[in-house]
């Protein structure tokens, strides 16, 4: 359907959809994201929902939101301030309005604004009626519930079911406003509700009615169009972080010729990895929903001992439970992947909110000297590559590898360029066979300091492993003091040597200058974009983003020392900063936020600018003005 009204071309739009947690906002957001991605835009999303399944209806605690930015240029975040905000009730309005830019579009479901809802939202009067609202924003009050009821009346649904279609009405209106095609969502409706034809027909009618409302009502004078982005050529799909992790794991299992065992216990925000992997049984994936986190990781070690690709995942509290077993896995020197999809901590913390505060837990959260490699994806799509890389390192070095994702990456999505199978790295795995007459040495090390992965069932290689200290080469239990120190050193050296087989750190910007921004994990997009803006403003600032955290790339020390100042933005109280200062004796400055929310670009720009050396800063301001 094409509009007859004026269409204004814009470079990008940031929109947030907010309503009650039963209003279907996540569904609406996902559909808008997919449709925008299919239109060729670059997209980035930020779903934000309460920890409760159904927080009390209509209250501020029950507000569920979904933010998406779609653009015709490459973007790395879901955007800072909103160009448009759609709210289904007063609670959604008052909790989200602060992020809408002046002059931005506010679309409100007028039917959701009544005395009962005001009371639930804890507001004294109708917030839409405040004169400041009309003066500050472009406000559209739409009686969505009533219009939806009219639109679906012929399908004979109960009022309750009919009212549930109002998110599709809102979707139709949003689609009209931003020139989105209805087709992908119509396909979705027919796939999802195919078995309930009346519901499918009603949702379709609501979607079309929303679009038609935009087209016919006098209120909207123009709509907006975002052209396709110029992305690297290839075939794309939209992907969420946890989905990409699951695909990366399956790909790793295939390229290494191994079946996969995935042992886990449900926990937010890691559970979706399990949900994805259970669908891949025909790839040889065995998923085990254990009785607890400890059982999950121990079963994973059992599978690794048997020669299978072994993976476990959890979030912070579950990783705490897995700590003892991870120490065992490290001592047994068996390959496996341990995924931590971080969330707000400590303890149960903020289960549905993002944070990066398990880095030190990953580094040191085990008893004794227990180093393990740590990798961190930087975006939803990067989860795929990092999963394959984690398995490569695990098998080359015979060691559990920790992978630090986070809630922001896990639930966020972006266009993902589908890799060619031939581009995937090959992972060669060999298991030793008996050498006639030679005694088998299970802890004899190769040039990587890695021991052989001898698996049960192989004649002539019977051996015993365990958590008691090993004698060098024979693997027998040893309490010899010098042997213990020697083994501690060898295990640490093995992990340190991984630095020789990972790429050097790349840098965005000059290799020396006034200020270096150092980040890791899910803050990549915000840090990259903020750096870019500061560079454009004439500042001497560069950015490095660590995907390898233990060990770090070989050139990190040199890079850190090549700048006058180093700033380390993190969604924690300064954990990477502590590691960098300890390892490289460089006086890094922290920029820390622990609010369960990702960084905005503007707060990072401010942090960078406030740390620029005064002279350079003045100079840049002049450049900026001149520009």
């Amino acid at each position: 359907m094409t509009t007859t009204k004026e269409v204004k071309s814009v470079t990008g739009i940031t929109v947030r959809l907010a309503g009650d947690s039963g209003d279907g906002m996540q569904l609406l957001g996902t559909q808008l994201t997919n449709t925008s991605a299919l239109a060729g835009n670059d997209v980035a999303t930020f779903p934000d929902f309460p920890a409760e399944i159904r927080a009390p209806r209509g209250t501020r605690a029950g507000v569920s939101g979904f933010q998406v930015q779609f653009a015709r240029e490459e973007i790395f975040t879901p955007g800072d301030t909103l160009d448009a905000l759609v709210v289904m009730n007063p609670a959604a309005m008052v909790t989200n309005l602060g992020d809408l830019r002046k002059g931005g579009i506010l679309i409100a479901n007028e039917d959701g604004f009544n005395d009962k809802e005001f009371k639930l939202a804890n507001v004294e009067s109708n917030p839409l009626d405040a004169s400041v609202i009309e003066e500050t924003y472009r406000v559209f009050k739409v009686p969505m519930t009533a219009l939806t009821r009219d639109a679906v009346s012929q399908h004979g649904l109960s009022p309750k079911i009919a009212d549930r279609c109002k998110n599709f009405f809102a979707m139709g209106l949003v689609y009209w406003l931003f020139g989105r095609s209805l087709e992908p969502t119509l396909r979705f409706i027919s796939d999802k509700f195919g078995k309930k034809p009346d519901v499918a027909a009603a949702n379709e009618a609501a979607l079309r009615a929303g679009w038609a409302f935009g087209e016919t009502t006098e209120a909207f004078g123009e709509s907006y169009q975002v052209e396709a982005a110029e992305l690297t050529p290839g075939t794309y799909r939209n992907i969420m972080g946890n989905q990409a992790l699951a695909l990366g794991l399956v790909a790793a299992s295939k390229v290494s010729g191994k079946d996969m065992f995935y042992g886990t216990y449900p926990i937010t925000p890691a559970s979706d990895i399990l949900h994805e992997l259970t669908r891949f049984k025909n790839f040889g994936v065995r998923t085990f929903q254990a009785e607890d986190e400890i059982a999950a990781v121990c079963a994973t070690i059992g599978a690794a001992f048997g020669g299978t690709m072994a993976v476990t995942a959890s979030s912070g509290p579950g990783i705490a439970l897995k700590a003892e077993a991870m120490g065992l896995g490290m001592m047994l020197e068996l390959p496996m992947i341990v995924i931590n999809v971080q969330r707000g901590g400590p303890s149960t913390g903020l289960p549905t909110k993002t944070e990066q505060s398990d880095l030190l837990q990953a580094m040191f959260g085990r008893n004794g000297e227990s180093p393990i490699p740590i990798l961190a994806p930087r975006s939803p799509g990067d989860c795929f590559d990092i999963a394959v890389e984690a398995w490569r390192i695990a098998t080359e070095c015979m060691v559990p590898v920790m992978l630090l994702s986070d809630g922001y990456i896990a639930n966020g999505s972006e266009p993902w360029r589908i890799p060619e199978l031939s581009d995937l790295p090959k992972i060669e795995i060999t298991h030793p066979e008996a050498n006639d007459g030679e005694p088998f040495l299970p802890y004899l090390r190769d040039e990587n300091l890695s021991r052989p992965w001898a698996i049960p069932g192989t004649e002539g290689l019977t051996h015993r492993v365990g958590g008691l200290e090993k004698e060098h080469e024979t693997g027998n239990v040893s309490y010899d003091p010098k042997n213990h120190q020697d083994m501690v050193r060898r295990r640490a050296e093995k992990v340190a040597k991984i630095a020789e087989r990972i790429p050097e750190q790349d840098i965005f910007g000059e290799t020396s200058g006034d200020l270096l921004v150092v980040s890791w994990g899910g803050t990549y997009g915000a840090c990259h974009t903020a750096t870019k803006r500061c560079q454009e403003a004439g500042h001497s600032v560069s950015h490095i983003h660590l995907r390898y955290i233990n060990p770090m790339p070989r050139n990190i020390g040199t890079l850190l020392r090549s700048f006058k100042k180093v700033i380390v933005p993190e969604l924690n109280m300064g954990q990477l900063r502590m590691l960098l200062r300890a390892e490289y004796l460089v006086d890094c400055i922290g920029f820390n936020k622990v609010q369960g929310k990702p960084f905005t670009i503007s707060e990072l720009v401010e942090a960078i600018e406030s740390n620029m050396p005064a002279a350079a800063s003045k100079n840049a301001a002049a450049v900026s003005k001149a520009g």
Partner: protein, 336 residues
């Protein structure tokens, strides 16, 4: 070509055994080495997995594959291994503290899943490795290093727990009765599904003689009833006593006073565990304690079979996984 015939000595590893002199563990180790060659399973196809405790040093002493893991978790390591390598024969070696305290949760779950592994639970009713604290099976009032005024915990019966978890094979034997122990271990090995063998094991350092009533020849006849499928429950020096079911409880009778037809006939194959549970609850000194196989139910699907069957079924239904198709599932678009 015929397979080489193995002997008990072939299953001995080159490691020095470091249990206390006189420990009941030696006897269990000896019976295991004797039984394994009779099973016809190659050494390299056998894996021993243990937790922590005196008993859990067991894998080091066997010339098979083995893993000495962490406290209480041996059943979970076994789950990962057996689920992915159903071709292996997996033994779990554990103790009363390991299996029932820290590992209580995993003990229940491995049994209810009916993973095809064999659990041998050494029960000496004391913590040996940590030097003498009471265990979940210690008797009420037992004076130990951590209970100077006597234990106030009610003891847990591994057999009752196993039956409550609807385990398919539940048995008891003891270290001193070597032939009986060997026979029970063999039957456990041959069972498809989780087998649990509780072994009364004397800790001569911290709890010496705790189960003398069941172990010493002089007392044993009066305090133990040996179970045999299809046979009546009789015991005593001259088998002069029997057990009969009256209403919903078991009682001891003199065979001279009641006809043998009144005695309880042991049915290890009864899928209803109620009477087997009554046997598990017979405790010294009120009742003789059962020895032998309480329950051996066949035909229950195993976890390892089912997890692998689902993979096979998925392959039949959807075909062998195709990465390219998986990557391209759903809506995709081209950028030129």
């Amino acid at each position: 070509m015929s397979l080489p015939v193995l002997k008990a000595a072939d299953f001995a590893s080159d490691q020095d055994i470091r249990w206390c002199p006189g420990c009941g563990d030696y006897s269990i180790l000896a019976q295991m080495k004797k039984v394994l060659p009779e099973l016809g399973v190659p050494r390299e196809k056998i894996v021993f997995i243990s937790g922590i405790g005196c008993s859990s040093r067991f894998p080091y002493y066997m010339n098979t594959y083995g893993m000495h893991s962490i406290h209480g978790r041996a059943p979970t390591f076994a789950t990962g291994l057996k689920s992915t390598r159903p071709d292996l024969m997996v033994w779990v070696i554990t103790g009363d503290g390991d299996a029932l305290s820290i590992g209580g949760n995993h003990f229940i779950h491995v049994l209810r899943r009916n993973l095809d592994v064999n659990i041998v639970l050494f029960n000496n009713r004391i913590y040996g490795l940590t030097k003498g604290q009471y265990s979940p099976t210690s008797t009420e009032g037992q004076i130990t290093k951590s209970t100077p005024m006597g234990s106030i915990d009610h003891p847990l019966s591994p057999l009752s727990v196993a039956l409550a978890a609807e385990a398919t094979f539940v048995a008891r034997s003891m270290d001193a009765n070597v032939k009986h122990l060997g026979d029970v271990l063999k039957r456990a090995a041959q069972h498809k599904g989780t087998s649990l063998v509780e072994v009364y094991q004397n800790c001569n350092v911290f709890n010496d003689g705790a189960m003398a009533y069941a172990q010493e020849k002089k007392q044993r006849a009066d305090n133990v009833v040996e179970l045999e499928h299809g046979k009546p429950l009789v015991f005593g020096h001259d088998n002069e006593k029997g057990i009969r079911l009256v209403g919903n409880h078991l009682e001891i009778v003199q065979r001279s006073e009641v006809p043998d037809d009144d005695l309880l006939i042991h049915d290890e194959q009864d899928p209803n565990p109620s009477i087997q549970m009554m046997l598990a609850r017979m405790r010294y000194p009120e009742m003789p304690e059962p020895m032998g196989v309480l329950r051996a139910v066949t035909g229950v699907a195993t976890y390892n079979d089912q997890i692998n069957d689902q993979v096979a079924l998925a392959k039949t239904k959807k075909g062998e996984g195709d990465l390219e198709a998986l990557f391209r599932a759903g809506d995709t678009w081209e950028v030129e």
